[in-house]
Amino acid sequence: MKRALLACLLAGCVDASDPPWQLDHDRVLAVAADPPRVLPGQSARVSALVAHAGAPVDEEQPVAMTVVSPRELYTAVHYNLDHWQIDAPAVTEPTALVVEMRLPPGEVATKTVWLGLSGANPTVAATVPDPFPRGRDVELGDGEWFTSCGTLRGTTLRVDQTCDGQLVVVVRDGDGGVAWQVLALRVQ
């Protein structure tokens, strides 16, 4: 409060908005291709972890998908019965296939899938205390964290009030591989 008042007094104010770690907000948290690197003849499925205002996070499938680049590989994207998938064509060298998808809340996302390479998504196995201690800074560990309770500063979570919510961690391997874990958060 003191900081906000000082900021308003000296440098003007900016209207408040939800911070990026807030799960109580409509947004895409991460998009994963499984596998993230595909060899010719293999297929990859794409899914997204989506946060909702006033509702828990869930995994969503794209409702539409298209190739952004390279445009000549537009046939690499298919709708197969009930889901979209990427069928890797033969390529002479590793190629970054950028796809654009529409997700159920109406959001649009882009994702790169590597063709001509093989690889799997990373794994994640995080834990949090249950019940979560109230009024204490708790270091959550590596990864990108999101919460519907308390305040996050980097990877440190502090919850000052009782709350039943969710905690999400997303791990990226830097080569397109993504994994996530959704944890229940109970603060008494």
Binding site: L6, C8, G12, C13, S17, V28, T110
Partner: protein, 542 residues
């Protein structure tokens, strides 16, 4: 277009009783300029005693805020990078650091030219703001809530001691520092020469810049000469610049009442980047006792392009009024040096009337711009049509001024494309202030009303899953505007000694400066000015 901010010597040229012919020539030379001693910009309410902030009393000038902090100068529709900021004749990247003037008010004078500028300067298509250093033997000091400035014998330094505290409180960047300094040392060189070394520096965590200028002036009989060299380190870029000019006063010649001819050159070399060179010739001639003409031609070489720019002004004193018509061509190098230079043609007509206790000035102008860079190509065009009224009243202890402007500035990506509001189109700007002086006190009030700047709305964002960030989706260019701004400023000055005063300056605003967006571009967030900003300070020459 002189102003009551003018020093006495310049102020008198606006009167009905014109003196010597030379005075008329001086009048002509500065006709298109608004000249102010920075010290005269000291009592403007709502500025925190800052001379650059005080420039907004000119209807043509708008300070461009970044996150609520004034950071650059827009002149009419010209964007900050289309204007020229000079220190002792050489370009500097900014006159503001952390929302405050880079230069020290007590050691400077400021010249503003909005109706184009003379051939002596080039490589800009908008207006010009020039800070000239002045030597000062006395001790100068200034104390405000955020900084302290001290100077003596022409050397001054100002440090911000409050900003680190504020930044730590706001958890922004507690290690950030900001220091500005200014140096001016003079030396008489022989009977006719004068050598001056001046320096202006603005240093912060990002590096800032330091501009050093060495100027030699020579005056003997009808001859005047100037040779100057300068070095600037601007965030690691090294600039080496030169200027030279020669003037000859021919007096009564060629059937003219008075004639002066002058010519010069300037070069600007940014090491490992580009070399720009310009040459110019100009004349000032009194055709009759009531008609002065100033005209010249400038030729600029921008790496692969050579361009000629004629500029001129005619001033006529008739019917107890001064009428001026100024026109000129302006060129600015394109950012990539390969594209053709940006072009502007500026036309201004003004009439000025001195009523005794008051002075009125009305200016109509038109600016045409071409070859603006749009998406890497020099295809953009722009026009700006405007009207400015300025009224200055000084009677006894009362002083009042009014500035009103109306403009319509548009830009288009191509000549055939639909036009939209220019980035810095400010259709209406009203600035009225009054002050009253009694004994050791001076009280002032100022009202500002201005239309909001246009902006391109963001309609949403695309999530980039690779970088975990959002890319904005833009709507129609410059389709929306920030709300009107209304600001009331109050100020009280109290002289503690003849040259030492304390002041309280209160800015009442709270209006919306502009908009920013949430990280995912789904929420539009208003950036608001401080609702109440009090400012207490002490300044003086001891």
């Amino acid at each position: 277009m002189t102003d009551n901010l003018l020093p006495e010597k310049s102020r008198e040229i606006s009167g009905d009783k014109l003196g010597a012919l030379r005075t008329w020539i001086v009048a002509g030379v500065i006709a298109a300029a608004r000249l102010a001693r920075a010290d005269d910009l000291a009592y403007v309410p709502g500025t925190g005693d800052d001379p650059v902030r005080a420039l907004e009393v000119f209807p043509a000038i708008e300070l461009v805020p970044v996150a609520g902090v004034p950071s650059a100068i827009a002149i009419r529709d010209a964007a900050p990078d289309e204007n020229k900021l000079l220190f002792d004749g050489f370009e500097v990247p900014s006159l503001l650091l952390g929302g405050r003037s880079v230069f020290l008010r007590q050691l400077s004078s400021v010249r503003v030219e909005a109706d184009g500028f003379g051939v002596e300067q080039g490589r800009a298509t908008g207006g010009l703001v020039e800070v000239s250093s002045q030597s000062a033997q006395q001790l100068v000091a200034e104390l405000t809530p955020i900084d302290l400035a001290l100077g003596r014998n022409g050397i001054a330094i100002r440090g911000s001691f409050f900003e680190p505290v504020m930044r730590r409180e706001l958890e922004l960047d507690p290690d950030r520092h900001a220091v500005t300094f200014q140096v001016r040392v003079d030396h008489r060189a022989g009977d006719h020469g004068w050598l001056a070394l001046s320096q202006l520096g603005a240093i912060d965590n990002d590096g800032g810049y330091v501009r050093t200028v060495l100027t030699y002036r020579y005056r003997r009989g009808p001859w005047r000469a100037l040779a100057a060299g300068s070095f600037m380190n601007d965030h690691g870029d090294h600039w080496l610049d030169t200027r030279a000019e020669l003037r000859r006063d021919l007096g009564h010649a060629l059937g003219l009442h008075a004639l002066e001819v002058r010519a010069g050159e300037d070069t600007s070399w940014v090491v490992d980047q580009h070399l720009y060179a310009g040459a110019w010739a100009a004349t000032t001639a009194a055709l009759t006792r009531d008609v002065v003409f100033i005209g010249g031609l400038r030729v600029d070489a921008f790496e692969h392009h050579v361009t000629a720019q004629p500029r001129g002004m005619l001033a006529v004193h008739a019917a107890e009024m001064t009428w001026r018509l100024a026109a000129g061509a302006y060129r600015r190098p394109a950012m990539d040096d390969a594209s053709t230079p940006q072009r502007a043609t500026q036309l201004a007509f003004s009439v000025e009337k001195n009523w005794g206790v008051s002075r009125s000035e009305l200016t109509a102008y038109y600016v045409d711009r071409e070859r603006l860079i749009v998406d890497g190509k020099a295809t953009g065009v722009a026009t700006n049509l405007g009207l400015e009224l300025r009224e200055v009243v000084q009677r006894g202890p009362w002083r009042a001024r009014l500035g009103v402007s109306y403009s319509h500035a548009t830009r288009a990506d191509r000549p055939t494309a639909p036009s939209h509001a220019a980035d810095y189109d400010l259709p209406v700007h009203v600035d009225a202030l009054a002050s009253w002086k009694h004994g050791a006190w001076q009280l002032g009030a100022r009202v500002q009303l201005r239309a909001g700047l246009p902006y391109t709305p963001v309609t949403g964002g695309i999530y980039d899953a690779d970088s975990d960030s959002y890319t904005p989706l833009y709507g129609k260019p410059m389709a929306e505007r920030a709300p009107w701004r209304r600001e009331l400023d109050l100020r009280a000055d109290r002289w503690l000694l003849p040259s030492l005063r304390a002041y309280l300056d209160v800015q009442l605003d709270g209006g919306v400066l502009g908009y920013t967006y949430s990280y995912d571009y789904m929420q539009r967030l208003a950036v608001r000015a401080p609702a109440v900003l009090p400012w207490l300070g002490i300044a003086g020459n001891l």
